[in-house]
Amino acid sequence: MKVLIIEDEKTMAFEMEASLKKAFYLCDLAHSFKIGLEKLKLNQYDFILIDLSLPDGDGLDLLKEAKKHNAEAAYIIITARTNLKDRITGLDLGADDYLPKPFYLLELQSRMQAIARRKFNIAEDLLSIGNFQVDIKRRQIKYELEEINLSRKEFDLLSYLLLHKNRVLTRVQLSEHIWGTFVNDDYDSNYIDAHIKNIRKKLNCHANTDWLETVRGVGYRVKQ
């Protein structure tokens, strides 16, 4: 999959590129409105990530232009601007998602996967782990044919770990995924552990869950 990253903060663009490359995306970078537009005219991309505050133009205008040349691409707006108006305008202009800075790179990837699933119908909806089957779209988890009842947060957590299997996810990454940017006062809470404990308890009734590992001091990982 081809991704164009239009971001004027070079370090940030490089880090995004590094992380996406590991997930086997092909990346192209543009550090300004002008270069971004040139690349858009020349190439076709699957994903276009646009920073709203570019030094030589507004990302929202670029989004409008980009749609003419890359109508099929999925657009994700990335911005430090958090006002609701921008967000609504962005989505109205046809952006597929909106990520406020700062975000976790894993969050970006999971949003891209979600879009891929929704828009391109390419990512798998049905995952299996151990003896369990997980349907991401229907938000169901089954052991053989029996459905297991997980809470909304528990399912979010488990599917996030599954989608990034074999990677260690930290508690902060996980908590930001399930809580979003909702502001709460706790920066060192162990509620992720509580959720994991519940998930294990519910799944262990059916089969063992050794695949859901605790990485001491770091976080959790689904190993397959």
Partner: protein, 443 residues
């Protein structure tokens, strides 16, 4: 004491003093006036007599007699005309006694000598002293009554006038100063007054408010801009750490160090986000308002936070009227407000403690929701500061970063909700939020 009362009292007092002085001097004045008037009458009568003599000759009075004397029935007045020694000269008005028909009476007597056909005559016109002063008492009484009435009338007029003149002042206080929500709205018209002092006061206040507003907006803008600017560097750091953590050849200690860094960075991010949230609330960026059922909101919060209740073995009681609807409120913000309160109630609670969420109606018709805990409580000294930024009521422990309640307060202020706190150390804390705009769906 109110200014109008003070002015009225002063004016009344000074008037009374003047009136008192007048009433004290009144007998003397009246006497003077009566005496002057008597003298004047006597002179007029003399003029008349002399005119008659000049016109008709002295015989007109004397009628052949040596002298002439006439008096009124009760002897209050008399006129006497008699020839006197050539050398006698008199032109006086004085009090003296005369004997008329065996009665000795005190008179005010005008005595004057004049010559007629080479003869010297003495004219005496008299009036009894008693008749001079006979009206004094009535006059004094009457004057006193009129005065009292006039004074009362003038006090009433003064009062009305003072009230009218001072009205702009109370209006200035009412519209400019009392119960003003910050930041001030400045589109109001100047208070109508023809008193330049009040105009000046009003203008100065308006100017002061503009300045305060400007300073406030600047501070707000700064907070908002600073928080925004911080986001990009935080992003970069976060991405670097994330990529570093994904390296396969990472040692365990390095991984742990990165985790610690990420946690710290996360803290910075949350502070920044909180400041931004406050700035956004204060900049009125949450315009969406709708009807919200508080019971649904609390069920959502409890679901969200239930694992923390279990963790601390807390018992939660939710007693919220299911028919209650809060009107014209931003759901997300209200959620955040109560989430923070419930979150605090958990955080500062003791193991196995209680949390109670209940509603009530106040005597003023407000709908009240209270969240109380059995936690550590807040000391009386700290209680006034709990809504301030970065003030932690529990400074000994590393809880949060002290913006949770500031967010609560700015949300409450934004929706004009009154919020009260009661707390007792080691007993617990109770937060009360009051809503004015509510309805019940119960028929």
């Amino acid at each position: 004491m109110k200014l109008s009362t003070k002015l009225t009292l002063f004016i009344t007092g000074s008037k009374l003093a003047i009136v008192l002085l007048f009433i004290i001097t009144l007998p003397f004045l009246v006497e003077q006036i009566a005496s002057q008037f008597t003298n004047y009458t006597l002179k007029q009568q003399r003029k008349e007599v002399l005119k008659n003599i000049n016109k008709n000759g002295i015989a007109y009075y004397l009628q052949g007699d040596e002298s002439y004397g006439s008096y009124t029935m009760l002897k209050e007045e008399f006129v006497a005309l008699l020839p006197v020694n050539k050398d006698l000269k008199a032109d006086t008005i004085k009090d003296a006694q005369r004997i008329i028909e065996n009665d000795t009476l005190s008179y005010r007597i005008l005595s004057e000598t004049f010559k007629f056909q080479n003869k010297n005559y003495l004219l005496e016109i008299g009036k009894t002293s008693a008749s001079i002063n006979q009206y004094n008492k009535q006059l004094q009484q009457f004057a006193s009554y009129v005065l009292v009435i006039l004074i009362l009338l003038s006090i009433i007029i003064d009062l009305t006038f003072i009230r009218m003149v001072i009205k702009p002042l109370s209006k200035i206080i009412k519209t400019r100063l009392i119960n003003r929500k910050f930041p001030f709205k400045l589109d109001e018209h100047p208070v109508k007054t023809s008193t330049t002092d009040f105009k000046y006061l009003d203008e100065s206040l308006a100017l002061l408010m503009t300045q305060i507003n400007e300073a406030f907006y600047k501070e707000r803008e700064f907070t908002s801009n600073a928080s925004h600017e911080i986001m990009t560097p935080i992003s970069i750091l976060q991405h670097k750490m994330e990529n570093l953590l994904a390296e396969e050849d990472l040692t365990e200690s390095a991984a742990l160090a990165i985790i610690e860094m990420m946690k710290t960075l996360n803290r910075l991010k949350k502070i920044s986000n909180s400041l931004l949230l406050i700035a956004r609330i204060e900049n009125q960026q949450y315009q969406d308002k709708e009807d919200v059922k508080p019971l649904d909101l609390f069920n959502l919060i409890i679901e969200e936070i239930s694992h923390r209740l279990e963790e601390k073995n807390l018992n939660i009681q939710l007693k919220i009227n299911k028919d209650m609807v809060l009107r014209e409120i931003n759901k997300d913000l209200l959620y955040q407000l109560f989430f923070n309160l419930v979150h605090n109630a958990i955080k500062f609670n003791r193991e196995g403690g209680n949390i109670s969420i209940s509603d009530n109606f106040t005597a003023k018709g407000e709908y009240e929701i209270s969240v109380s805990d059995t936690g550590t409580g807040i000391s009386t000294e700290q209680l006034p500061h709990i809504f301030d930024r970065f003030i932690k009521s529990n400074a000994t422990e590393n809880y949060g970063y002290g913006l949770g309640l500031t967010i609560v307060k700015s949300i409450a202020d934004y929706h004009h909700l009154n919020i009260q706190v009661e707390s007792e150390l080691n007993e617990g804390t109770k937060f009360k939020v009051f809503f004015l705009n509510w309805k019940s769906t119960k028929q």
